[in-house]
Amino acid sequence: MALHKGYVVITDPDASAFERDAITCCHCNRVFLQMPLDIPPWCRKCQKPVCETCHQHGRCRPLEKWLERVEAQDRKEAFRRSLGL
């Protein structure tokens, strides 16, 4: 298990264990398996792997930005509720 790579294992009583590296996209948080000899797309700004879909978009949209936006929206709504709006 290398840096930036998680791990998936599936154990089955009728077969040997299935093991693969699992990669988390640094843009959308999606988890995907890395096939042997396959090199995942890479965001050169984040310096982390991305999924194929985010790679196709061609723009750096870090997960952190999305989290900040959702949290800011939630704080705004909480404030409006506190005012009775």
């Binding site: 298990m1 840096l3 930036h4 790579k5 998680g6 791990y7 998936v8 294992v9 599936i10 154990t11 089955d12 009583p13 009728d14 699992a22 990669i23 988390t24 640094c26 959308c28 948080n29 999606r30 988890v31 982390k48 997960l63 989290l67 959702v70 949290e71 939630d74 909480a78």
Partner: protein, 147 residues
Amino acid sequence: MRRYTSPAATAAGSNLTILEVIASTSTRIRIYDMIVGSSASPADVATDFNVIRGTVSGSGTSVTPRKIDSADPSALATSQQGTFTGQTKTSNSSIMDLALNQRATFRWIAPQDGELVVPATSDNWIGLESIASGGTPTINASMYWQE
């Protein structure tokens, strides 16, 4: 970072949530480990699972998060299992897809900084969803998270 886990046991089915972990406004939660299996009598039943996001947790059966380190305070996040009502699931939000035979056990371990993150909001959640199943075996799932 404090670590917690919630185990759940819920029957599989169509678009049924097995386990959901709900954030609090004060902290993000980072899910770093997940185990899915079945405690039902061994049989060949295939089930399709997704890990999805949602914005309203609804009401299910509460599962008290367990501390990994007994010296830690209680978790800020909450978790639920069972039959849900009033949930809002975010469409097209699946962040992990897996299809599993009932006899098999699945485990995912996140890399550092590659955890599944739930924003620090009032009711956002991440859950394991049984999308479709060839039967209704009991699915046992555990999620481990940091907060």
